[in-house]
Amino acid sequence: MAIQVRIPTALRKLAEGRDVVEVEGANVGEVLTNIKSLFPALAEQLVDENGKVRRFVNLFANDEDIRFLDELDTELSAGDELSIVPAIAGGR
């Protein structure tokens, strides 16, 4: 399914300057794998060398933190949004 992935300002230059990119995936894990092939530099910012999502990166499936859902197994339907939100950045 085509998922709308929302990109934070700090990472847009790694997504061709876009604030939303469409990526295929039936769950969050699949979307991340596909981001890796489409935008490898972007994926590098999101996951560590072991393929785990970095601690300070919050992923929201339609406004719910995936930690409250099924983590990377959280299922997604066509048109769903996956938002990448840093653990609050920049200034006071």
């Binding site: 990166v57 919050n58 933190d65 930690r67 939100v85 653990a87 950045a89 200034g91 006071r92």
Partner: protein, 302 residues
């Protein structure tokens, strides 16, 4: 003797020696941390918020029913909200929607109102929304505190933080390490220390990447640079990774009894780097806040 109000309880925070995480260093290299979470609002931002508010009241910018508005990623908002509740003025805060629930709850407990900005736009998004809200304020109901440009911000640190550190190290400080957000702490404290002790080294710390998880800090190259930032104050700038900031925050809690936030972990990482380069010295770093403002994951509001 009792204090007249919460305003009088801001500042004069303790300085504590770091013992266990410095065991690899010679005894002649000492690291101290200034514990700013001892402030009544819970963070270092009580200081600039107080100065900003008192200066505005003295000038007549605040008072007569004016509402204080500013953008904040949390701590300054809490401080303003506390001062508004204590001194009797309304507070509206523009915050990214991904600030922790703890911050939202405490701000609302003080009676302040939050305007949420897009979390994907970060704190710069909050700055932009605050400016736009003020521009559209045709009734003139707001006074824009503008912590990123207001000279009362670094002044607070020049008047309080710097002299306290000089006093509490008995004048022995050789290096001051501060992380950069609005840059008020580094700029103001640095100015005071350079006057009190010429030769003291001022070191700033910032995140090593535009995309980072060090709440409150700015990666200057990719951000709106605060107008109050005086680059002539620090002698040196260090870049610290989010991973190091988080790891040290956890170690400080587990090994030193200091449950600090992530920017504190980053400042400590900077202090350790400085310590590794010298044979003797007294290094002071600032621990801005407590980890309890960050702990639970949060729901996002649109």
């Amino acid at each position: 003797m009792a204090a007249e109000g919460i305003v009088d309880l801001i500042g004069n925070t303790p300085l504590v020696r770091i013992r266990h995480l410095t065991e690899h260093l010679p005894d002649s290299v000492e690291i101290y941390a200034k514990l700013e979470y001892f402030n009544p609002g819970g963070s270092v931002k009580d200081r600039p918020a107080r100065q900003i508010v008192l200066d505005a009241l003295a000038r007549g910018d605040l008072g007569e029913g004016k509402i204080l508005i500013d953008s904040t990623s949390g701590n300054t908002g809490v401080a303003y909200a506390m001062l508004g509740s204590s001194l009797g003025f309304e507070v509206n805060l523009v915050m990214p929607a991904n600030v922790s629930q703890a911050r939202k709850d405490i701000v609302e407990a003080y009676g302040a109102k939050i305007i949420f900005s897009d979390p994907l736009e970060g704190s710069d998004g909050a700055i932009i929304l605050a400016k736009r809200t003020v521009e559209n304020d045709t009734e003139g109901k707001y006074w824009y505190a503008d912590q990123y440009s207001n000279p009362s911000n670094p002044l607070a640190h020049e008047l309080t933080t710097g002299p306290e550190i000089f006093r509490d190290t008995g004048g022995r400080i050789t290096h001051f390490v501060s992380s950069l957000g609005t840059t008020g702490t580094c700029t103001g404290t640095g100015r005071a220390l350079r006057k009190l002790k010429p030769g003291v080294q001022i070191i700033s710390v910032e995140p090593d990447a535009a995309f980072h998880g060090l709440a409150g800090l700015k990666h200057m190259d990719s951000s709106i640079v605060p107008a109050i930032y005086d680059r002539s104050v620090p002698h040196r700038n260090l870049s610290v990774s989010t991973e190091d900031g988080w790891d040290y925050a956890e170690l400080l809690a587990a090994k030193e009894g200091l449950p600090v936030g992530y920017s504190s972990g980053a400042a400590f990482a900077g202090a350790l780097r400085v310590a590794s380069e010298i044979d003797e010295g007294v290094i002071v770093c600032v621990f801005c806040d407590h980890i309890d403002r960050y702990l639970p994951p949060r729901k996002m509001k649109k």
